[in-house]
């Protein structure tokens, strides 16, 4: 039996973000939202371990109160229950705030053996919330994990980490936290039945008031500038004539010889 918490973030779909070339401002009017890409792997891994060893999976997220849609999406992927830790002010949180908020909520109401986070969020990609949360909870952690197995004693987890200098296999006593790489698994696509069933699953609504404290950021944002690129953006068809034109251009640019 394993009680697992999978942490996921509800993020702007970066493919929808448009840029005002002149002011280099980000235009966010018509953006959609999604579960942060690699958090789908975190949820999948939690569900996979639960299927194998029994137990419970809770999907936990910190976000603005308007992010309700995320719950159905997350729950359709297999967890039994969700912790929706929300407040209107929980927008553009810094990773350190998110970690502190998750830590308070988890300490207050969850009994867990394992916490699974994604490698990094699609919007900030800070790779910070997981390890910072582990510190705040005082539990061991392993980042960049691409394979997880429960030890025979069921009191330890074996994690295979993929790092710059090679592979490292570690064992940690439970409770522990891991952050998982996207190649740890292939997330299932929820079936229609799972999507419909998700609406009936319980959600614990945890508010700032329940948390009983405030969370100030240590980092202040002083500016955001869209990255722009000067490119020709010439599009051609696939026939020989066009290929020759492009080769000619590349020769002229002096990038091939």
């Amino acid at each position: 039996m394993l009680n697992i918490i999978a942490c996921f973030k509800w993020v702007v779909d970066e493919a929808d973000v448009k840029i005002d070339a002149k002011s280099r401002a980000l235009l966010m009017e018509r953006v959609g939202y999604k579960i942060s890409d690699y958090d789908r792997n975190a949820i999948e891994e939690a569900v996979r371990l639960q299927e194998q060893h029994g137990g419970n999976v809770v999907a936990a997220t910190v976000g603005p109160s308007t992010a309700k849609q995320c719950l159905k999406d997350a729950l359709s992927r297999g967890p039994e229950r969700a912790d929706f830790i929300n407040d209107p002010s929980f927008v553009d949180l810094e990773p350190e705030q998110t970690a502190a908020i998750l830590a308070t909520a988890i300490k207050a109401k969850e009994e867990y053996d394992l916490i699974i986070c994604g490698e990094g969020s699609s919007d900030l990609y800070a790779q910070q919330v997981g390890p910072a949360l582990a510190e705040r909870l005082g539990i061991p952690c392993a980042t960049c994990v691409n394979k997880l197995t429960l030890a025979e004693s069921k009191k330890e987890i074996i994690a295979e980490r993929k790092l710059d200098d090679g592979m490292e296999v570690v064992s940690m006593p439970l409770p522990a936290l891991v952050t998982v790489l996207p190649d740890i698994n292939t997330p299932r696509i929820p079936t229609l039945k799972q999507v419909l069933g998700a609406a009936k699953k319980p959600v614990d609504n945890i508010t700032l008031n329940d948390l009983g404290q405030t969370y100030k950021p240590c980092l202040q944002t002083t500016g955001i500038l869209a990255a722009t690129m000067e490119r020709r953006r010439l599009k051609f068809g696939a026939d020989e004539k066009n290929i020759l034109v492009i080769i000619g251009a590349l020769l002229k640019e002096g990038v091939i010889a």
Binding site: S122, Y125, E135, C141, G166, E168, T221, R231
Partner: protein
């Protein structure tokens, strides 16, 4: 012992951060303090500009670098550095996040550069957001101001003449509950994409591993190297991890980048932004690669690439 503090897991990155640290030390009128894994490195760091070195204790066989976190956080708590830079390897990122959490301070992860506000002794630090679609500038209002700095952001600090510095030995680390049970070092890749003049990049539009031969042949004709998108390396395992480009992979700056079946999502583009010319081949005319490219061919790579190779062979006389 306030000052500019530096920790990186290897010598190269420590020297890079030392270079930045030396400059900051002047702005902040502070000293540079560097962590070292052994006496030999300690001496070297002093010779390259560190004023003081904190010598980390030896680790047990079953301990990983991350078990230094309590030692690093404790000495930082006592000595109150102004700035703390950590080298952005994967281990470095974990260590930075955990040390920052222990010190209750802010951390700019993936800091790609900064400006100094000399009057207030603050760093205006840049980081990429939304997969690299924008750069955000942040200021850390607590101490120390922490940043994770990716490898090769700065040149290595040069050797300086007649340097002297103090080496302070840190106490032994409490063994961590995380025990290493096996290590498999990585075989070093012979190809360094960051140095390549021409890169042929393979995306998921390629149907099977055998078809890599098409990319290899094209690269061969052009005298370039083959790289890829993250899923090609990490999900399909067709090419080593060192070959993928993007926000979490290599940042490259070739004269020519050719994408074959690469969609051109922002996380990938972020790694190839500094290419002189970008050329994309994709059968979907709405693929984002065409927005990022100088030249694009809308077509099936299996038709276009053989033709391209044929014409190049003729024109380049190869």
């Amino acid at each position: 012992m306030a000052g500019i503090w530096i920790f990186a897991e290897n010598r190269e990155q420590t020297l890079e951060l030392l270079n930045a640290g030396r400059n900051l030390a002047q702005d902040f009128k502070a000293k540079v303090v560097t962590f070292a894994l052994n006496v030999h490195l300690a001496e070297e760091y002093i010779n390259h500009g560190s004023d003081e070195v904190l010598l980390l204790p030896l680790l047990g066989q079953d301990q990983s670098l991350e078990s230094y976190v309590p030692v690093i956080a404790e000495v930082a708590r006592q000595e109150d550095p102004d700035v703390f830079f950590i080298g952005g390897t994967q281990r470095g990122r974990e260590i930075a996040a955990r040390v920052a959490a222990r010190l209750n301070t802010g951390l700019c992860g993936g800091c790609t550069g900064y400006k100094v506000d000399q009057k207030n002794k603050l760093l205006l630090m840049n980081r990429m957001i939304l997969g690299g679609a924008a750069v955000q500038t942040v200021v850390c209002t607590t101490r120390p101001q922490m940043a994770v700095i990716p490898p090769r952001t700065f040149e290595q600090a040069p050797l300086m003449e007649g340097r002297q510095g103090k080496v302070i030995e840190l106490p032994a680390a409490q063994p961590s509950a995380v025990k290493v049970i096996n290590r498999t070092p990585k075989v070093q890749e012979s190809v360094d994409l960051t140095e390549a003049k021409i890169i042929v990049s393979v995306g998921r539009g390629m149907e099977k591993k055998e078809d890599l031969s098409l990319a290899l042949e094209l690269a061969g004709v052009l005298g370039g190297e083959v790289g890829c998108s993250r899923p090609v390396a990490e999900e399909l395992h067709w090419l080593p991890e060192e070959r993928y480009m993007g926000i979490s992979g290599k940042k490259v700056k070739p004269d020519l980048y050719i994408g074959l079946g690469v969609s051109g999502q922002i996380q990938h583009i972020t790694g190839i932004r500094d290419s002189k010319i970008i050329f994309g081949i994709n059968r979907d005319e709405n693929a984002p690669i065409f927005e990022a490219a100088d030249y694009g061919i809308v077509g099936d790579l299996y038709e276009v690439v053989p033709k391209l190779i044929k014409e190049l062979k003729v024109l380049l006389k190869k």
